[in-house]
Structure formats: structure tokens, C-alpha cells
Subunit: 220 residues, 2 copies
DNA sequence: TTCGGCGGATTGTCAGACAAGTGTACCGAA
DNA sequence: TTCGGTACACTTGTCTGACAATCCGCCGAA
């Protein structure tokens, strides 16, 4: 766990560095789901002592990116349809709650508008590059609440969302134009102060994404 | 991190045992807020090696019960009004989302009804014993969603709620009869399928509790 | 075929050590 | 007296090395 001051200066300990490296490799799909990560292997790969490797692995386990049973190697979590559903329903709960609050004051986060503009500027059709601004759009909704704890929670499920996406390697992505349109509708509802409608649109938006992911997963 | 199988058998490692002990002592108010917890002290108190004590402390830091800056002792988090507000707003988001979902199918969790019956059976007036069934009532709402991730998140904020309550040592508690009545109203709205009303009642319920906590805190 | 035992692999826990950083108390100078 | 700098104690970060406990797969025997 790194504190704010050190984070700003970019100063991190060995374990945090290893954790960040592993996280990036897992989320990018470099380390495939189900692959075993032994403490010894991590220790050797990054040239750190085993206790440090152990600590890094434990952080990722706490983050839900790895699973481990006693005396067994840690493995990258396998994403099954049940997991996808749970992840998406959980994020939907947080995001729709956020929308209702924002609608109460008709507050449209500027960061969300900006992120959606990026999506809209892309060529129509499925494109892996839409993933990043898409996630930024949704994150902006949560960040607008300015709640440390809600933000922490959301980010933890978002890691799993990224993992889901790495799992299906960008196949069957949604059309950029469709995504942008749905986002715009949501923001319109917020601007109109209609929290109920915004929440419903969001639920539909996420439900369709969830469905695509589940069906892409079933194709394996 | 203990797996399910071991948890059922009550088999836990040293670090988990220490973590549980410390957590209990912190949440019960035995270790006052702001108190320093050095690795050496924990190690000596429970007769474990320093790495084990370190791991236990790190788990509690990840849980948000302790805070630590590099090369400084870990300390029990100080609860200020801002923290209370953030904790209560975060739990309100999760719980109201749960109520809307339950109302959609007019599902009233049996565990919630049971917990509220316990509160109702107590003598009227403030009573520290109401805290436990009260928390069980709210937890029952989340558990009814049957979502692993949402449950995990909720439990993590609930730990902080307990910490808040330990901080004010049960002063200025709400009247048991009032609490039970508000809970009953919420469940009625759910049974009627009126998610909007249930969410509003819950928000008011939690907002008043939050207010009491903040004002009790300010009295120090 | 099924059961029990054996060995390799991996983690859990410990002891001990050194480096590095933080806060504080002390002391000298203005 | 007050301010500034320095030395020290305390604590954490990390490493090395080690042993016990446990789990897995494999093999042989009934």
C-alpha cells in the first residue's frame, strides 16, 4: 500500500512495483486466465526475494485478480458467465445510484462528456480503441460523486471488467456509434433531472454489454 | 486470505488469526482510534514473527481500518465527520440499489423481517443492544441480492460503520421503536413493489443516523 | 479397478540481519 | 530566548536462508 505523497513523487517500494507489473500483464491478457503464478517464479522473474513476490501476489488476490487456495499456486481468475453477470450487476448498481444522485442536481460531469466525445470522433463500427474512452466515461460518473469509498469500490470491479475484456480479446465489440449514442441519451436524462430514466438507460446499456460478453465467452 | 473450505473447518493460518483478533479489538473500541500499532508490538503481543504481524497489519490497512504512511507506525483510522458522511452515503447507495431490485419482484428477505422483529421485541428507548440486529437487518437486504462482489463491498463499509459506532461508544443512540418502525415501512414499500419509495425511506433513515453520529462526534 | 502410500513441488512461518527513512530531542549560534 | 542543524532512537522495507506442513500426481499392491 503506497501513500499519496510517495505516489505523487512516483516513489514506490519493490512490492508495489512488482504488483503493478503483474497487474498490467494480467489485465492486458499477457498472462492468460488460469495460468499459475508461483511465488518462486515471480521472485525469479523480477529478481526480488520470495517474501516480496508473496506480498505482491497477496495484493492481487485481495484485488480479486488472482485466486488461491492454501498451499496451492495462485492462478489468474477464470472468468465464467456467472462472474461476468456478478461483475456487471455490481457495477450497474453503483453507476445507476450515481446517475440518480447526479440527476437530482442535473449535474453532467464534464469528464463524461469529454470521454464520450472521443468515442463519437472514432470511425463507426467495432474498434478495440473504444474500450479505453468507454471505461473513462463510466468512471467519470462515479468520480463526480467525489466519494473516496465509492470510488475505491468501483475501481475494484472495473479491474475485473478489464479482465473480462482481456479474456475475450476484443472480439464482438459493440459499435462505437451505438455506444456513444447510448451514453449521450444517459447524459441527456441526467441533464433533464430524470434519474429514473437515466438509471434505466444505463441498466439496458450495461445489460447488452454483459450479454455480448457472456455469449463471446460461451463461444470458447 | 483464507479459502472457503478452510473457513468452514475453522482452519486458519497465523496471520488470519492475528488479523481477526486485531479487527475485533479495533471494532470493539478496545484499541482506541489514533493509537499506534507497531509491527514489533503486534508480533510480541501474539507471539508471532514480525513478517506475520506485518501481513496482518497490511490486511487491515487494505480493509481501511488502519492507515499507514511509509516508515511510520500503522494507526487506527481517525473518524471525522467527513469520513462518517462518506461511509454512510456509500452504504446508502448500495442499500437503496438493493431495495429497488428487491421491490422489482416484491421480494422481502425473511432474514430482514426476522432481524427487525428482534428490534421490535426490545424495550423502547435507546439501547446499545439494538446495534447488532440493526446491522443484521441492513446486511440482509444486501445478502438477498446473492451477489458475491456487492456483498464483499458492503461488508467492507460495514466494518467502518462499526468503527464509527465504537468511536462514539453508543451515546445518543436512536430509539429502538423508531428504528423498527422505519425498517417496517421500508419493507412494506418493497412488498408493494414501490422501489422508489423504499429507497427514499432508506435514505431518510440513514441520513438521520448519519446526522446523529456526526453530532455525537462533534461533542468531543 | 481401487485404495494406500511415497516423493516432488509449493506454500506457511520463522529467525536474523542490514539498509533506509522519519521524527524528535538536544545543542550551539544569532 | 529563539531558531536552525545535527545526531540518535525507532520503525519499517527488504533480503537471505531455513524448516515444517500440506497438496498433487504417480506407482504399486490388494
Amino acid at each position: 500500500m503506497t501513500n499519496t505523497v510517495d505516489a505523487v513523487l512516483g516513489v514506490v517500494g519493490v512490492v508495489d512495483a512488482v504488483t503493478a507489473q503483474l497487474r498490467a500483464r494480467i489485465l492486458s491478457g499477457d498472462i492468460r486466465s488460469g495460468a499459475a503464478l508461483t511465488e518462486a517464479a515471480v521472485s525469479q522473474t523480477y529478481g526480488v526475494a520470495r517474501p516480496s513476490a508473496k506480498a505482491a501476489i497477496e495484493q492481487l488476490v485481495a484485488n480479486g485478480l488472482l485466486v488461491r487456495t492454501a498451499h496451492r499456486s495462485a492462478r489468474v481468475v477464470g472468468i465464467d458467465p456467472g462472474t461476468v453477470r456478478d461483475v456487471y450487476r455490481t457495477r450497474a448498481r453503483l453507476e445507476s445510484a450515481a446517475l440518480r444522485e447526479l440527476a437530482r442536481t442535473a449535474t453532467v460531469p464534464a469528464a463524461a462528456t469529454a470521454a464520450n466525445a472521443e468515442i463519437l470522433a472514432m470511425p463507426a463500427g467495432p474498434d478495440p480503441a473504444t474500450v479505453d474512452p468507454d471505461l473513462r466515461f463510466h468512471t467519470a460518473l462515479i468520480d463526480a460523486l467525489d466519494s473516496e469509498r465509492t470510488g475505491r469500490m468501483y475501481r475494484s470491479v472495473l479491474d475485473e471488467v478489464r479482465l473480462c475484456m482481456a479474456q475475450v480479446q476484443g472480439r464482438r465489440l459493440l459499435d462505437a456509434a451505438v455506444i456513444a449514442a447510448q451514453h449521450a441519451d444517459i447524459l441527456d436524462a441526467v441533464a433533464a433531472g430524470d434519474g429514473q430514466r437515466a438509471a434505466e438507460l444505463l441498466d439496458a446499456h450495461l445489460a447488452s454489454a454483459e450479454e455480448r460478453l457472456v455469449e463471446a465467452l460461451g463461444a470458447d
